[in-house]
Amino acid sequence: MNTPLNSFRNLPDERGHFGQFGGRYVAETLMPLVLDLEREYRAAQADPAFQAEFDDLLEHYVGRPSPLYFAPRLTEELGGAQVWFKRDELNHTGAHKINNCIGQILLAIRMGKTRIIAETGAGQHGVATATVCARFGLPCVIYMGAEDVKRQSPNVFRMKLLGAEVVPVTSGGATLKDAMNEGLRDWVANVHDTFYIIGTAAGPHPYPEMVRNFQSVIGKEARAQMLDRTGRLPDLLVAAIGGGSNALGLFHPFLDDPTVKMLGVEAAGHGLDGDEHAASLLGGTPGVLHGNRTYLLQDEDGQITEGHSISAGLDYPGIGPEHAWLKESGRVDYTAVTDEEALDAFQLLCATEGIIPALEPSHAIAAVKKVAPTMPKDSIILANLCGRGDKDIFTVAERLGVEL
């Protein structure tokens, strides 16, 4: 696709930078691999057979295109803009994560790699990775913080059923960032045969770009579906942000549509005024972690602080570098909603639409709940329903004081 000169869609540059963000901040041992990965990814991008296989698997294995759904009762309840959802929670494995995993495993196979590793927080990316490994018969090691292993036992069991080895990580705070450290340690020690499937639009270049591109199927479909159904583009896109992959997947194909506003929703946890949140953009500062320069939760010495969110998938102290750039450029607005607000939105969607959302998109729904009433009735909000809530029913039950 041709992009105009003043496009928001033509980054990163050849060094993997989005303005001052992004890049390849990795140990020298990994640098040649990261360069090799970029070369192979460019070759795959130029190969119609690669794209054809990706599309075929998305259609017949993942179940794409996912529906675009108008939510009539939620719209009525909120009394403002029409609310529409991109239904990526209907994908195989229940979230958008699988889109990216299909792309990366095809690349791994193309590169002749024989062993797959990944990090996971909530377990959704771990499940999606274990799924594609089973599908293609590759051994798979998933690093998961020991705390998350405890919090997300159903997903741990799912990964094991799918044949993955799940390694609990006890270093640091034993959550997602520590799992990512352990993934990087494994990768440096097994560079010859191992492919690291990173689960969000972060990490060293080319991961942020590559993950965004694999996830862009969300926005490409949604844009065409919306035009087809309503003859116009939406006025506002809304998506939750952990590392930022579902949000970029939805936003990126619309970035050069000037009438389309965008809102990324971070996790405010117990509130942005304290330490217990996971809002890297709104409550953090720029720094370098996990291969890229981006906004981080950190102290004045550059030590990384632990994020908090009711949603394990948003509980990461960084954010993909493209979001850092989109924030600074002003193209996308960012907000944050608390655990409480997300829980309310979770219940609201269950009650009005008969859809149990994951806690991650519940943050997006909470933001929709706030903005929809301020917009005229003929305006359109499109939110990314990027995951289903089956994995979260235990957390929600506990918060609501219900014993299962």
């Binding site: 901040y25 640098m31 040649p32 720094g287």
Partner: protein, 261 residues
């Protein structure tokens, strides 16, 4: 002559010793290393997320941060070391984020003021040199680069360009404190690097014993020992200096005499 040139210009190979700043009584531990024969000191800057380190150095980072070590404390340790030891090269080793947090100028000026000779930043490869390298050079602090078994011939010139002080050859593709590489592979790689550079080459990762150190000293300009010393700091606490002295003497003896037979 720079302190590096002097340390690597001695008649025997150099022993390079690494410990983490703020893990125990660092001044006493450093003095023990120097008195027992360390030629170059690498002082680790603690970081919450030491991605390239194995369990021993990860634990040292957490002990240090748990004890409340700040970046100011690290520079204070460095400054006081320089007052006590005028001639021993001092290198700060760590990760990018604590180094760039207050801007590269702040970091470079602090290094210069504290008498730090060089900086090894694990996660700033040549591709991202802008983030810190130019400022360090401006302040007369050597950016010390790492070469690894995956650094192929095409890439080596890029690693060497802009490297100062010495070159650190990481002998294994992996994290600190784990397995040791075959001596043949180390010898070949050091020879390859020395063909393209006049910098001294120090070899590290996985070196624990005087025997291993001696074998490497036969083929390189320096030998780096880290995890084995860091483990002593963790295990012996206040008693660490005596134990560090013991191991360092044996390592120094092995390294300094390796080429005599």
């Amino acid at each position: 002559m720079s302190r590096f040139a002097a340390a690597f210009g001695k008649s025997a190979p150099a022993l390079v010793c690494f410990i983490t700043a703020g893990d125990g009584d660092t001044a006493a531990n450093l003095d023990a290393l120097v008195e027992a024969g360390a030629d170059v000191i690498e002082l680790g800057m603690p970081f919450t997320d030491p991605m390239a380190d194995g369990p021993a150095i990860q634990a040292a980072n957490l002990r240090s941060l748990g004890a409340g070590t700040t970046t100011h404390d690290v520079f204070k340790i460095a400054f006081e070391f320089r007052e006590r030891h005028k001639d021993v090269p001092l290198v700060l080793m760590g990760y990018a984020n604590p180094m760039v947090r207050r801007g590269p100028e702040w970091f470079g000026s602090q290094c210069a003021a504290a008498g730090v000779d060089g900086v090894i930043c694990v996660d700033i490869p040549p591709e991202e040199d802008d983030a810190l390298g130019p400022t360090l050079r401006e302040f007369g602090v050597a950016p010390i680069r790492l070469a690894t078994p995956t650094t192929d011939a095409a890439r080596l010139p890029q690693v060497l360009a802009g490297s100062e002080g010495f070159l650190y050859y990481v002998s294994v593709a992996g994290i600190t404190g784990k397995q040791q590489a075959q001596i043949e592979s180390i010898e070949a790689n050091v020879a390859r690097i020395k063909q393209s550079s006049d910098l001294p080459v120090a070899v590290g990762f996985g070196v624990r014993t005087p025997e291993q150190a001696a074998a490497i000293a036969k083929v390189a300009d320096g030998v780096v020992v880290g995890s084995a010393l860091v483990e002593i700091c963790g295990e012996y606490g206040a008693e660490a200096p005596a134990k560090l002295r013991e191991l360092t003497s044996a390592l120094a003896q092995a390294v300094h005499t390796a080429r005599q037979d």
